[in-house]
């Protein structure tokens, strides 16, 4: 249980945001934390599930972000899996 600073981009948005997650958060939770700053704010909402990509790999929704290899200040992409 440690704070993990990340940069996050929701694909389709114009900017990358700085967020702080917990290294025990699941990929699903991290995706939601990134999406919170884009979806419904600058990116139209969708019913499609939100997935997360780290280092080019799409994470399973229940993967723990710290154990998936995310290091402080890594970049994580979140996107609608349409």
């Amino acid at each position: 249980m440690a704070l993990l600073p990340l940069s996050g981009t929701f694909i389709g948005d114009v900017t990358t945001v700085g967020i702080v997650v917990d290294d025990e958060d699941t990929a699903e939770v991290v995706g939601q934390k990134i999406a919170h700053h884009s979806v419904g704010r600058r990116v139209a909402a969708s019913s499609a599930p939100i997935r997360v990509r780290l280092g080019g790999r799409v994470l399973e929704q229940d993967e723990i972000i710290g154990r998936a290899g995310a290091a402080p200040y890594d970049h994580v992409e979140a996107f609608f899996d349409e």
Partner: protein, 294 residues
């Protein structure tokens, strides 16, 4: 900018900018002879390096200040040209010819700069407007229906790429969801230019293939950048820039508490009267602007 301001009756701002411009006219006289001295004394490579460094730094500041002013803040009826047209005339043609006359090359990132004329300042404007409480002016959204038509005419594809963000913002305003038009965290700020990293917008227009901010590790610390030229500027002389914390670094390292926009505004020392608000009180979202623009 001074002429535009005076044209619309903002004499104070016009006088301020005119005064600044006389300073800049003097500063600008120093560049050419300095480059000439460097080249005449066998330091052409250093002259090229200085041009490459400062042109990008200036471009970033210019895109923020003049890009937003010309394409969004100047009232539609007073706009004489787009920011892109202005840069193409004054910078691409005239300034570039000047330093090429000295035998210098275009900066190595020239194609990236030319590409950015179509999208960079539009992305920056969207984010600056979102973060309007954190700036000391009242940003004009500049996206009334007529203004969006102008933007589409000057930048074909603007509505597809940027208009769709403003569609979401406009709907939130109309639905009374103003809170959704304000941010709850910070953008990642580039460790060189300190501006929001908007590489993702470049992805949308096909200019970038990867939204991840370019990064560089120096003495164990991760630095992040908006672009390869900003990263290059850092890596050429890292000790010149290392150690400084961007505003996002300060969020990440806990300097800004609480970790939200309220914490940011308190950290910046901006009182509520000083925080920027929408220049038109959101009239643009309802089809007409407060001053009758359509």
């Amino acid at each position: 900018m001074a002429a535009d301001a005076i044209d619309v009756g903002d004499l104070e701002f016009g006088a301020l900018i005119s005064s600044i411009q006389t300073d800049e006219a003097r500063h600008a006289q120093q560049g050419e002879p300095t480059i000439k001295v460097l080249i005449d004394n066998g330091h052409k490579e250093y002259g090229q390096f200085l041009i490459d460094h400062m042109f990008w730094r200036s471009w970033r500041a210019f895109a923020l200040l003049t890009g937003l002013s010309m394409d969004y803040y100047t009232p539609l009826e007073a706009r004489k040209m787009s920011f892109k047209e202005f840069i193409q005339d004054w910078v691409v043609k005239q300034f570039a010819e000047q330093f090429r006359d000295y035998g210098l090359d275009f900066p190595w990132y020239w194609d990236e700069f030319i590409n950015e004329l179509d999208w960079y300042h539009h992305a920056i404007h969207t984010i600056i407007w979102n973060y309007r409480p954190s700036v000391w002016w009242n940003p004009d959204a500049g996206v009334s229906p007529a203004e969006r038509e102008w933007l589409e005419e000057k930048y074909p594809g603007w509505n597809r790429v940027f208009g769709k963000h403003w569609d979401v913002l406009t709907q939130n305003v109309r639905d009374g969801k103003l809170a959704e038009t304000y941010p709850e965290t910070l953008p990642v700020a580039c460790n060189i230019c300190q501006l929001p990293v908007v590489r993702a917008a470049g992805l949308l227009v096909g200019a970038n293939t990867d939204p991840a901010p370019p990064r560089y590790v120096h003495e164990g610390r991760v630095y992040q950048f908006c672009s390869e030229p900003c990263k290059w500027i850092f890596t050429q002389r890292p000790d010149r820039f290392a150690g400084h914390k961007s505003i996002t670094d300060r969020l990440w390292t806990g300097d800004i508490q609480p970790l939200n926009i309220g914490g940011l505004l308190a950290y910046m020392g901006l009182s509520e009267p000083e925080q920027g608000t929408d220049a038109d009180n959101y009239a643009w979202a309802y089809g007409t602007a407060a001053n009758g623009k359509h």
